[in-house]
Subunit: 345 residues, 2 copies
DNA sequence: TTGTAAGCGTTATCAG
DNA sequence: CTGATAACGCTTACAA
């Protein structure tokens, strides 16, 4: 955490408001353009000694090129905008951190843009404004944007770095796989009445909507009644109320696909509090596979996925666009999403 | 999520690579400087009609000032760097989102900078590089930086927007309050042997270190033996192993202060699996008060705090520095941190 | 009340 | 191999 005072003081040589390329040029006894060329890797075409001198001078002055200057002349900045959906994604922190880390390594910085509750069009407008102002090197979408939105952004001259998920009837591949895994698992376990549990109050939850649609599709395939839906708050009393209502209208047994592991826990412990058998009367399957569901008793059945795997295609997209790595397939590898069978189904 | 195609197309009038202030000036029949003045609020000194014309022209062209141009001439960008510590903070997502939202409303954008595992000095270096490159309008620190680091950054010309926490013996006020609340609660409940449970593998956990120090202080105050420490992984088997070791060396009963609620749950269910009484043989208190600990049975005792309260001083600092709001006291209001008494103590 | 002109720090083009 | 020179888009004295 703390750093030795000497260390701090010693970092870049004393330098009040930042050296510019002019300073470096002067110190090295060359021109600004030479400095620019050399510092940007056009090394081969210069005399060894000149290169040396320029590099020394830059190091000595602690010269750091100004992003503003670069951006102005290049027409785009070294920023990458990260659009984060307004959803309780599993592990958003980890996802953001992983992406930021990659972007960082490529010499870019991440600007976060959170979707807010409210009209999707407003969010798009805000995002477009940011894009126009910052002229970023690219945009990474974590799922808040529809294909049309991405098209619009791209036409505005902002490259989309995240792989475009194929949307089928408005549902992307990942959410499709997750919800299908949940529903089919419940059916396999013998549940013939299904339900989908949203997290209450998450104002505009695109992922939840997609997934409940998929669960409904699966029900139709198997000739089951359309799933009930319930809005579960993350407190015991509220969860019990919500669950009660479903049990009343749909009877038992009922298999409940939950929008995440926390909701899964809420439903599970609500059922137990209501003296319903889990599994048996109530089957519960979450999403995430994060540790918390696996720590408690009963252990939560859930759809697990490795954040790294899920994010890796995004990271590859970034590396491809920004770092010149080879482009890669966008599809999730087989087995990215898999049922972790716990004690609740 | 999706937006009507017409809506998208209609947004800014057709405009390929962005209109500049010259375009606006031409359309309005004035000079660039007039445009600049008017669009930056120097409205009073111009003829009503001119102001109108300029604004119309800007709107019509969908003119958005280039951040690069502004930054270059102003010497600083409209970016705010957010330094995030390498810790399992409770609700980092919410914190980042809240701050980003505020910053956004003030017309700035948030650049995230995550601390990584590894030498603190390396992180500082990376951060300094970002600051020198971006010349941000300010920096918000979520806890990764020592006072000396902040001084260094500030001397580099980067305003620190987050209130500087008073560090006493290297521990900031918040962590002090949290750990003290944990320890004193356990003592009150009759535990005379305490322990501190870290989350395993969190490479460099400054908050955990601070808090275990505080727990040790409290032990000393009450004339108790120094606390044991244990590293708890978030899986049942590993947690049981860790807990077993403590029970072996320290006996029972033992009161365990945990670095967060997940660790608290891991310890709680590990104890139950080991046929230890909770509470009784093992007392557990977490930190966070997030929903998950309150959903399960037994309900976790924890130190709760409202994210909004905790973050509000930071937000006020931002508003003060960037938005011209009045400066405010940095201290946490009374009762920001309070024990939520559950079934585990 | 409005326009002119200079300069912020960088990179690209082209001439030497 | 190296160096002028010209943008890039914006703000801001200062001049009219």
């Amino acid at each position: 955490m703390s750093v030795e005072p000497d260390e701090v003081a010693a970092l870049p040589a004393a330098r009040r408001p930042g050296a510019t390329s002019v300073d470096v040029a002067r110190l090295a006894g060359v021109s600004r353009s030479t400095v620019s060329h050399i510092l940007n890797g056009q090394v081969t075409r210069f005399a060894e000694e000149t290169v040396e001198r320029v590099r020394d001078a830059a190091a000595q002055l602690g010269y750091v090129p100004s992003a503003a200057g670069r951006s102005l002349v290049l027409g785009r900045s070294d920023l990458v905008v990260l659009a984060v959906p307004n959803t309780t994604l599993t592990n958003v922190q980890d996802i953001i951190e992983a992406i930021a880390s990659d972007v960082d390594d490529l010499g870019y910085s991440v600007v976060v843009h959170f979707d807010r509750g409210g009209a999707p069009a407003d969010n798009l407008t805000r995002l477009q404004h940011v894009v126009e102002t910052l002229r970023p090197a690219g945009l990474v979408d974590l799922g808040s944007l529809a294909p049309a939105d991405l098209d619009a952004l791209e036409q505005q001259g902002c490259p989309i770095l995240s792989p475009r998920a194929r949307h089928v009837r408005g549902v992307d591949e990942g959410n499709l796989a997750i919800a299908r895994a949940q529903a089919e698992h419940l059916v396999e376990r013998g549940y013939t009445t299904l339900a989908y549990a949203f997290l209450v109050d998450h104002r505009d939850d695109p992922f939840g909507r997609m997934r409940s649609t998929v669960v409904a599709d699966v029900c139709a395939e198997y000739g089951l009644a359309p799933p009930a839906t319930l809005a579960v708050p993350l407190d015991p009393a509220g969860a019990q109320t919500a669950l009660c209502e479903v049990l009343r209208t749909r009877g038992r047994p009922v298999g409940i696909a939950c929008s995440n592991d926390e909701v899964g826990l809420a439903v599970t412990f609500a059922a137990l509090a209501l003296r319903a058998a889990v599994p048996g009367d109530v089957g519960v399957v979450g999403v995430g596979g994060g540790s918390v569901g696996q720590l408690v008793v009963p252990r939560l059945s859930t759809v697990g996925f490795d954040v790294r795997t899920t994010v890796s295609s995004i990271r590859q997209g970034i590396a491809a666009a920004l770092g010149g790595a080879p482009e890669v397939a966008a599809a999730f590898p087989e087995g990215t999403f898999s049922i972790i069978s716990g004690d609740t189904t």
